[in-house]
Amino acid sequence: MKKLVILGAGTAGTMMASHLRKKLSKSDWEITIIDQCKPHYYQPGFLFLPFDTYKPEDVKKSIDEFIPKGVKLIREKIDVIDKDSDTVVLDDGKKFKYNILILATGTKTAPGEVAGMLGEYWYKSIFDFYTYEGALALRDKLRLWKGGKLVVHITEMPIKCPVAPLEFAFLADSFFIKKGMRDKVDITYVTPLSGAFTKEKCTTALTYLLNDKNIKIVPDFAVEHIDGANGKIVDYGGEEVPFDLLVTIPTNMGDELMARSGIGNELNYVPTDKNTLQTKVKENIFALGDCTDVPASKAGSVAHFQAEILTENILLYIKGKELKPDFDGHANCFIETGHGKALLIDFNYEFEPVKGKFPFAGIGPLNLLTESRLNHWGKLAFRWIYWNMLLPARKLPFITPKMSKSGKNFN
């Protein structure tokens, strides 16, 4: 019996378990998936928790609901990977030998990386919404907040779902208008990038949104420390931005397991071939989702495209054939713009987001890079698709892992 072990039962690990259990014969391959967590969170829903749009139960289910039959789920913290002996060691000392290892341990916030972020003011005037706890603490704060300076802030790149902070700013604008207190709130968006979006084409096409919503932007800001007592964030160049309420995206880092195993980069991301998804650590170790260093968006949609390609490559690897360099960096994201509207962007390693129609050339029905109500419904439908289509690895109709160029205006 050969052994395939998957580390992490979040979005990417669960999808891989679903794909591979369908493809690998049960008499030849034992599949094990390991995770320390009980709940499986729908992380894109964290964006809506602070505004009371989603309830906690909308975003939280149990991990084991999604692990397919015939896959063994182990609930324990992973201590270390010993690549030389092809062994994974858990916190309780148990060891698992593997023939093939798949890394899917994701990325998480590390608020301890910036001086003054964690401490007295954490969850009092400084919040994150990238964790379940943070999103709920912020919800409680917003329910009672009387207004003042709201600063939405990205600490450093890369972060997962890079558009989420901007969406937060847009939704906050809507939220305060609805509460009849927008005139009491000043919204500033502070980013280490040179513009609001990570992609230049987006910045050019969409900066009007910030102006329309009266959101100020402070670009090129690399935070050095946070002064909670005086309510300001300070950058390495000495620039200061004052806040009454700071909503920050802390540094995102891969799990420390990678540092303990000596296989991560300075942010604990695992060096991985950006097209085949084989790691540079060892030929029988593969990685997908947020835990890799590939220069693609860290997003669930990306993990979905990667899972289809990696499944094929694992089958090729087992047959001793050459891997296909098929992952092209394809990402596909809805961006909430507030007031019941959203944008949709589609891009890859090579092409920036462009205008056009999706998924059918010329027909749509979704418009790329243009605000619409339909896109907003698309974003809300994504939650259903996530639980019912993505995690069980059902084929999504019409959407291919490689980016389609038809129906798009590339000039």
Binding site: E156, P192, S194, T198, A222, E224, G237, E266, P295, S297
Partner: protein
């Protein structure tokens, strides 16, 4: 696109970043520095040559990784190349504009 720096014609992209590192020399770096309002010292050149080494090794650069390089810490990096140091330093080093990927 092409541009003349210090009497030498070099290939550049639309934002003025060199497209071929092998065309780079110290005089070019000094002219770009002047455009950016920075006076280059030996320490600046130490950083530029570190960036070039990383580029040749195809290692993606970040402010954090430079802070851990042992060449400069982040604070010094900002003092040497104020405001958006990675972008400015990359331009002077003759390497492509850092991709804030994603």
């Amino acid at each position: 696109m092409e541009k003349v720096y210090a009497g030498k014609t070099v290939g550049v992209d639309k934002e003025g970043y060199l497209t071929d590192l092998s065309q780079w020399n110290a005089a070019i770096a000094m002219e770009i520095a002047k455009e950016e309002g920075v006076e280059l010292t030996a320490k600046h050149f130490e950083v530029l040559s570190y960036l070039q080494d990383q580029q040749r090794k195809e290692v993606a650069l970040s402010i954090r990784s430079i802070g851990k390089s042992g060449v400069v810490d982040i604070k010094q990096f900002y003092e040497l190349f104020p405001k958006g140091p990675l972008k400015i330093a990359s331009k002077m080093a003759g390497i492509p504009k850092p991709k804030s990927c994603i």
